[in-house]
Subunit: 224 residues, 2 copies
DNA sequence: AAAACGCGTCAAGAACGTGTCAAGAAACCA
DNA sequence: TGGTTTCTTGACACGTTCTTGACGCGTTTT
């Protein structure tokens, strides 16, 4: 999941970008001025910044240098000015890209992808950790005390579904239909067998699970 | 000293850029077509690539993906086309920036500085080494105990895909569709044959692989 | 209090996936 | 064109995973 910080003083543009980027799978953190932008960049794990230079409280260039003071997050500058001088200044201040308005959404999305790709190396990994074991969603790997744990495909599918909904109750029917297919929604026996196997591989005391919990008659829950 | 590879089929533009960039302290490597560009990128230590998409011998996009196959060097695309679709394609192919002609020299210089700033830090070698063998992504060569290992094209493609995702589980379907094409996504037998060949050539004990691992029912994983 | 139900556990056969060898077909190169 | 390399395909043994049934235990319902 990529998190984008959008800085723009025009509420309608902010809203429009927010909606569109969210629709394309990005997590969006909005900011209407430079001060909140800099604050948000410190409190959130930002992967890319989209920055409109025309801000009410401070010069956009100062926002760039403010960010560059401590972060190497990719910055895409939006601006209505076509002047070459403005581009030079923004890029030299530390921006990574410069897009002039009006721009097509697909172009912005492409530049976002390019920027996120670059910064991607440092971005947060889809890792879920508990005191006992770690689930690496991207690499499909589970480790316990540093050692890799072998899971069968079905075991993995069940675990992944639960881990992707941490703390949430997942009904048996939902697990069964997502892992085995809708036709198997009532084969609750499968679940018992596989939950037992997962617990045997992951829990310290399989008979008294701490993370893979049963809610009798309802479903299962993954607790951190 | 920053070295820039300039790819443009128009001799006068090539000359003009060469002179101007040199005047600004850059070392310039010129190339008039895609083939020489890709060759030059391997023989010279390039810091930034400036690429005109309109080339006589091959599609500019193929030049981008050709470079991206082994290098993360920043690529700035020059193009006469303003169409948003072209920008999206170039950026998604792996370009870092897109400048439409006509452009001011100072803007190009600023984008060059921004690109060089980014690329400067990494200087990652396209070499992957394990205690047993070494994979040279750039030169498409594998050596074992200092001796070159002969791989067939398909063997190489499979190995490359795995090595580019170290530690990550790559599904059989993904390998098959990337190497043989989407239509072959279910021809898992191919994979078994080729994994066996790779292991025979690279593993100490092919029957007990250490680096080219099988995750039954899920896919394969390259471990360092 | 007994029965019914849901859950966890174990074990075994069936079904499926994998490794290996080998040979014919196709592609490539000189 | 001939010779070589590479790809595709088949057969079989082996290992893993899935499915299924049986049983014990605890909780809830009758």
């Amino acid at each position: 999941m990529t998190t984008v910080l959008i800085v723009d003083d025009e509420p309608q543009i902010l809203r429009a970008l927010q909606i569109n980027l969210h629709a394309h799978g990005y997590t969006v953190v909005p900011a209407a001025n430079g001060t909140t932008a800099l604050a948000a960049a410190q409190t959130h794990a930002i992967d890319v910044v989209v920055l409109d230079l025309g801000l009410p409280d401070m010069d956009g260039l100062d926002v760039i240098s403010g960010l560059r003071g401590w972060s190497e997050v990719p910055i895409i500058v939006l601006s209505a000015r076509h002047g070459s001088h403005d581009k030079v200044e923004a890029l030299d201040a530390g921006a990574d890209d410069y897009v002039t308005k009006p721009f097509g959404l697909d172009e912005l999305l492409a530049r976002l992808r390019a920027a996120a790709r670059r910064g991607g190396s440092q971005a947060s990994q889809p890792l879920v950790t508990t005191p006992e074991f770690t689930v690496d969603l991207a690499n499909k790997q589970v480790s316990r005390h540093g050692e890799a744990v072998r899971l069968t495909p079905t075991e993995w599918n069940v675990l992944e579904l639960l881990v992707r909904n941490p703390g949430r109750l997942v009904s048996q029917a939902q697990i069964l239909s997502e892992v085995w297919g809708p036709a198997y929604a009532k084969e609750t026996h499968y679940l018992r067998v596989y939950m037992a196997q997962l617990r045997r591989k992951l829990e310290v005391d399989p008979a008294n699970p701490v993370h893979l919990l049963t809610e009798a008659g309802m479903g299962y829950r993954f607790a951190l």
